[in-house]
């Protein structure tokens, strides 16, 4: 079966075949042994357990001590990341806004400060660009997923 994923910003296609209870991909084989536990066997016969859980569209996978967030995407979908839209990673409150609509900003420049989880977070420009829209003012409550600032490069 063919699956399209996104991991670390890159798209990957992964096709696994199933024969009896054994899944295979190239020299690897895999077997589901329990709820969220998959035994992955490498070409040399070395087998290790992977753990997986899906949250939203993302598969969280633990393998060999590392954790990967692997997003399931629909085949053929286009990359719909907004160009530089900065999204609140968690609910919180805007403490300070350092820029205004139309400002030119340099990569790394401080745009706004937000408080969440008892901490202050600096939101900085990921690249050089122009501020298209600042969506919140000082004191505003923001929800997880809210786009705080829109930028064009």
């Amino acid at each position: 079966m063919q699956n399209e994923f996104k991991v670390g910003g890159e798209k990957v296609e992964v096709t696994v075949a199933k024969n009896d209870e054994i899944w295979s991909l190239g020299e690897y084989s895999g077997r589901i042994v329990g709820d969220g536990r998959i035994l992955i066997t490498a070409a040399d016969g070395q087998a290790r357990f992977a753990h997986s859980a899906k949250v939203g569209d993302t598969w969280w996978v633990h393998f060999d001590g590392h954790i990967f967030c692997i997003e399931k995407t629909e085949p053929g979908s286009t990359d719909n990341d907004s160009d530089g839209g900065m999204v609140a990673p968690m609910p919180g409150k805007i403490l300070d806004v350092k820029i205004a609509n139309g400002d030119n900003v340099a990569a790394g420049q401080l745009l706004l400060i937000m408080e969440a989880m008892k901490m202050e977070h600096r939101i900085v420009a990921p690249s050089d660009g122009v501020i298209k829209q600042v969506n919140f003012a000082v004191g505003d409550q923001v929800q997880q997923g809210d786009v705080l600032v829109e930028m064009s490069e």
Binding site: M1, N3, F5, V7, V12, V14, T15, V16, K18, W23, L25, Y28, G30, I32, D35, G36, I38, I40, A42, R48, A50, H51, S52, A53, K54, V55, G56, T58, W59, W60, V61, H62, F63, D64, G65, H66, I67, F68, C69, I70, K72, M86, V87, P89, M90, P91, G92, I113, A116, M117, K118, M119, E120, H121, R122, I123, V124, A125, P126, Q144
Partner: protein
């Protein structure tokens, strides 16, 4: 005598205290904010009472409401845990005024140790060594600046400005160059006023390359004050400890008894009662200096329990009830290490993370203790501190304890919320951690550009295959439906400072 203990806290430390009450045969009352309903600690109490209110101020910091519950349900003692109201002298006083036992030291001791400049002066007077530096007598901006500028010449550079009411790094400024001094004073003062409503700032020498070593003390109401050896907690990120151990790898018998004596002296200077911790900086040359005293049980208390065999929370309950402490001579054995499991992205400046604990599979086996407030299926929310649990190991030697910690971290699987498990695991392999050459700048020194996970391409391949199998076989759909909250690593955020709740 105590019959019923109200635990004015939540999460893992509430679990810890409630279990101690159960074992002591005491009734217990848990209080919980509405967003903590159904979490583990609410199950461990004889009775759980819901707090009204949405914010921390309305719930866990709400002195009136908590006292009213204590009175209504017949609590005759209150255990504040750490954080929240644990170092609020006014609350301790209110508890005592209501005729309820305060499980902690007298309000006066909390007060004297809570103000850093007062604590420093008290310690100096008691003969406890303090960091070279000077207290500044004035609260007036101009006078303060002038006084600090003058004393900076005696203290020397690099120096550290500290807010008298400070905590968690707020109002603290490192100054390397005399030219930066005045600006730094003004900035520290502004921050301290904002954070604590108190702009007093003083000056200390910045001791680089030193270790954070603290002494656990216990004092009962029968005149006995003892120390229980040290903990080293040098490995910190953003002034918060992540890796703690006992004994300190460079400790000697002689140094331990000198530091222990100083800590007992410090406790006696404020007529201390209960469990407390005296924090020191230990310089590379073996000199040590008073840093501050924490007048409560500490996050890292388990490592002391593991090596000394003393149940500190149980002793707190005994002492508050007026009994003598039960422990005998100090008998340290083996080595214990604690790591703090945070919901945070260690690869992005330790930014706190949220999400569901879709899988929370704790390590098991001999020599392992997990103090957790969460369990599989819980949601990590932005409402509270992101510390989820503490993983503690004990083994006969330090190298065996490190081996055990590695094994435990390898077994620990948490999915659905980003945690620092991998970071902690790699920390256990760091050369300086392995050799015990830990100091307070270790994390910045080892990862000056931040930590990033390092893995083979084949590891990612296997993970992709696992995801493909999981997706194709329709595994674990249930978690998706339950999870009402998105989670995952983020990017353009940089985290500044944390305030302890």
């Amino acid at each position: 005598m105590i019959n019923t203990v109200l635990v004015a806290n939540r999460g893992e430390i509430a679990c810890r205290i409630l279990r101690a009450c159960n074992e002591a045969g005491l009734n217990s009352i848990a209080i919980y904010a509405p967003n903590d309903a159904g979490t583990l600690f609410t199950e461990l109490a004889s009775r759980s009472v819901r707090l009204e209110g949405e914010t921390i101020a309305d719930t866990y910091l709400n002195q009136q409401q908590i006292l009213a519950i204590a009175v209504e349900y017949g609590a005759d003692a209150i255990h504040p845990g750490f954080g929240f109201l644990s170092e609020r002298a006014d609350f301790a006083q209110a508890v005592i005024d209501a005729g309820i036992n305060w499980i902690g030291p007298a309000p006066q001791a909390i007060e004297m140790m809570g103000d850093k400049m007062t604590a420093r002066m008290t310690m100096k007077a008691a003969g406890v060594p303090v960091i070279p530096g000077e207290e500044i007598d004035s609260d007036d901006e101009a006078e303060m600046v002038a006084a600090i500028v003058e004393s900076s010449q005696r203290v020397g550079y690099p120096l550290l400005l500290k807010a008298s009411s400070g905590g968690g790094g707020k109002g603290m400024r490192k100054v390397e160059d005399p030219d930066e001094l005045v600006e730094a004073i003004m900035s520290a003062r502004r921050e301290a006023i904002t954070a604590f409503g108190d702009g007093r700032v003083y000056v200390e020498r910045l001791l680089t390359g030193s270790k954070h070593v603290e002494i656990q003390i216990l004092a009962d109401k029968h005149g006995r004050t003892i120390h229980l050896g040290e903990r080293e907690c040098s490995v910190q990120r953003r002034h918060q400890k992540v890796f703690e151990e006992s004994p300190c790898p460079v400790m000697t018998e002689g140094l331990r008894s000198r530091m222990g004596e100083a800590a007992v002296l410090a406790a006696k200077a404020v007529d201390y009662v209960g469990a407390g911790t005296v924090e020191f900086l230990l310089a590379a040359n073996g000199e040590f200096f008073f840093l501050e005293m924490n007048t409560r049980i500490q996050v890292e208390h388990p490592v002391t329990e593991m090596v000394t065999g003393v149940d500190l929370v149980r002793e707190q309950l005994r002492i508050a009830a007026g009994e003598p402490m039960s422990c005998g001579e100090l008998m340290m054995r083996g080595h214990s290490i604690e790591v703090r499991l945070y919901a945070e992205d260690a690869s992005n400046n330790f930014l706190p993370a949220i999400g569901p604990l879709a899988i929370f599979r704790a390590p098991q086996g001999p020599g392992i203790r997990l103090d957790t407030g969460v369990r599989e299926g819980d949601l990590v929310t932005p409402n509270y501190d992101p510390m989820l649990a503490k993983l503690i190991v004990w083994a006969p030697s330090r190298s065996e304890a490190l081996q055990r910690m590695r094994r435990a971290l390898d077994e620990f699987v948490v999915l659905g919320t980003t945690t620092n498990i991998r970071f902690l695991r790699e920390l256990c392999d760091n050369r300086d951690v392995v050799s015990g050459r830990t100091d307070t700048m270790l994390i910045e020194r080892v990862w000056p550009d931040g930590w990033h996970p390092d893995y083979e391409e084949t590891t990612l391949d296997a993970a992709l295959m696992a995801a493909a199998i999981s997706e194709s076989a329709g595994l674990h759909r249930a978690v998706v439906a339950q999870a009402g909250i998105e989670s995952g690593p983020t990017s353009p955020f940089q985290t500044l400072n944390r305030r302890y709740p």
